[in-house]
């Protein structure tokens, strides 16, 4: 059928006389190659993944049986899931605040069109291009208690009492991971807010000025509400990014989210459940359980991001 319609399409096209079939379904030939890839490497694995989550398969061998929703029940009743989700939530909120304050502030500075604006813009967006793995290595070394530049600098400035074991102190590790991520993601906030600022019509600002609104009042009442689309985009981007975060945690504090799971996040928890971490006995590694965790995270994220987009869009309209 498909081969036939391909022929029809080729001949018919040249003679400007297409069969009804080709006219109605010919466009699907353009979709077909991508469709095959998509089915083979995304849809089938997703379905297979869901099927695996309903079994007790460990990941090796052929010995497994159907266990229904047992994995889901166990996962939802397990403490590490909530601890990891809590860390994701803290990271999300901290970076959200950072992006909407520091990021917005820098974007406003850039929007004032200072000299070398293009240079600043190029530099400030640079970390976004640099991989999280490279970012992780740079900061692992800089923050190292023995050979790192940060503690050495603090000592030489006479601030040696501030030197810390940044990534292995249980009270500081999560904050340090957040700080490193701020370095990597600031560029997003700047570019997204800058695009929002540039989209504000000049007349609107002049009108506000004539009405006596200047400085902070004008920003608060006129500019900021008009930045709502940027606010929404950045919030959703940060949400998705922070609930999927893996690379940077893996490099900075390892698959165990050390020290003592203080930086453990959902993605490292899933990774460990599927492939093991250095201190986990191999009989703890259960692929089916890991996939069940991934399904739970997927469902919650899908619901949360839909909700988030809806709430923020409403705010945009009423603003």
């Amino acid at each position: 059928m498909l081969a036939q319609s391909r022929q029809w399409d080729g001949r018919g096209g040249r003679r400007r006389r297409q069969s009804a079939l080709a006219r109605r379904y010919g466009h699907l030939l353009f979709v077909a190659p991508g469709f095959v890839f998509f089915i083979a490497f995304m849809v089938l694995p997703s379905l297979a993944g869901f099927a695996v989550s309903l079994t007790n398969w460990t990941g090796v061998g052929t010995d497994f049986s159907f266990v229904g929703l047992d994995n889901f029940v166990e996962a939802l009743g397990s403490w590490p899931l909530y601890r990891a989700a809590w860390h994701n939530l803290i990271m999300f909120l901290a970076i959200l605040v950072f992006q909407h304050t520091v990021g917005l502030f820098v974007a406003v500075q850039l929007h004032a069109k200072p000299r070398f604006m293009e240079v600043y813009r190029t530099i400030l967006f640079l970390p976004v291009i640099i991989s999280l793995v490279s970012t992780g290595f740079i900061w692992t070394l800089m923050l190292s208690p023995n050979i790192g530049v940060i503690n050495a600098l603090l000592k030489d400035l006479g601030l040696g009492f501030l030197a810390r074991a940044w990534l292995s102190d249980p009270d500081l590790a999560l904050a340090t991971v957040i700080g490193v991520q701020c370095w990597n993601v600031l560029g997003w906030a700047i570019i997204i807010y800058l695009a929002g600022l540039q989209a504000i019509p000049e007349e609107l600002l002049q009108a506000a000025e004539i009405d006596g609104a200047t400085g902070w009042v004008r920003f608060r009442r006129v500019v900021f509400p008009l930045l709502s689309p940027s606010f929404t985009a950045l919030t959703v981007l940060t949400f998705i990014g922070q609930f999927r975060v893996f690379d940077i945690v893996y490099v900075l504090t390892g698959p165990l989210g050390s020290p003592n799971f203080e930086t453990d996040v959902l993605a490292t928890l899933i990774y460990r459940s599927a492939f093991g971490g250095s201190s986990i006995a191999s009989n703890d590694v259960r692929m089916s359980y890991a996939v069940a965790l991934a399904v739970i995270v997927f469902v919650i994220m899908a619901i949360a991001s839909t909700f988030l987009i809806r709430v923020l869009r409403r705010r945009e309209i009423s603003a």
Binding site: P33, M42, P45, S46, V106, Q109, Y120, I130, V149, Y271
Partner: protein, 263 residues
């Protein structure tokens, strides 16, 4: 002032990365900041052989190039096929492809692992390229379909009257008009494919099929104190993409932002 401070804060770690790649081990302990006492250029030659950059760099280039080309082309074909709402299944298929954005990699990675083994692709670069092409499609379709829809249909009918086949219309009419979108999609997918860590960590752990980010990690385990070599590898993995960014700053910024906002 603020801008200068922010730029300096961004640049210091980058400069530090470059300096660290030229340092010897005693230098790290004796001289944490400042220029290397002795510029150890051989960090790079050693990274090339001992850290297997001679394998991982070509691998990364091949994987990124093939995946970007394949994914962008297939997404353009899909966008062209689905660009008219009244066509059969157009909206359904569009939603189907775009919903792929929501699928977390962790959910598909293990079945993918088995599938690739079954196809006998395991340990080859195709084991990365084929899934990357599929994973790049949702964003490509999302960005390109609206652009394809905005092409006036008169242009297509005119070409048809001139006797062009659908394929010729795609190549001669649609593709040139899609070009800005194609660049955005290529950059968006290219940056994540070049930097991607999780997928190759699982699928491409055999040394011959490793990409740069995974290569550096696996090297860490072996020579945990050889920071100079590690950073030479980090610099080698970062420079190509930074150079591309500096040449096409505007395209990178607008392309990535467009993808981020829509994604």
């Amino acid at each position: 002032m603020i801008l200068i401070a922010a730029s300096v804060l961004v640049l210091i770690p980058v400069a530090y990365m470059v300096l660290a790649s030229f340092k010897t081990i005693p230098d790290f302990f004796g001289n944490p900041y400042g220029l290397p006492a002795h510029w150890a250029f051989d960090n790079y030659t050693r990274a090339w052989t001992e850290a297997h950059v001679s394998i991982t760099l070509p691998n990364t280039i091949i994987v990124t190039f093939c995946s970007v080309a394949g994914s962008t082309l297939l997404a353009a074909l899909i966008a062209f096929g689905l660009c008219r709402k009244e066509r059969a299944f157009a909206l359904t298929l569009y939603t189907f492809f775009v919903s792929g954005l929501l699928v977390p990699v962790q959910m598909i990675i293990l079945p993918l692992f088995i599938l690739l083994k079954w196809f006998g692709l395991f340990g080859t670069l195709a084991a990365l390229i084929l899934p990357y092409i599929a994973l790049g499609l949702p964003l490509g379709v999302l960005v390109l379909t609206p652009i394809a829809s905005s092409i006036p249909r008169d242009l297509f009918s005119a070409a048809q009257v001139d006797g062009a086949s659908e394929l010729q219309i795609f190549r001669r009419v649609a593709l040139p008009l899609l070009k800005p979108g194609l660049v955005s999609v290529a950059i968006l997918n290219g940056v994540w494919m070049w930097n991607e860590f999780f997928i190759p960590l699982i699928i491409a752990f055999t040394p011959s099929s490793q990409t740069l980010p995974v290569g550096i990690i696996s090297f860490i385990g072996v020579y945990s104190t050889e920071w100079g070599l590690v950073f030479a590898s980090v610099v080698i993995s970062t420079v190509p993409i930074v150079v591309a960014y500096l040449f096409m700053t505007r395209q990178f910024q607008s392309g990535l932002t467009a993808g981020a906002i829509k994604g």
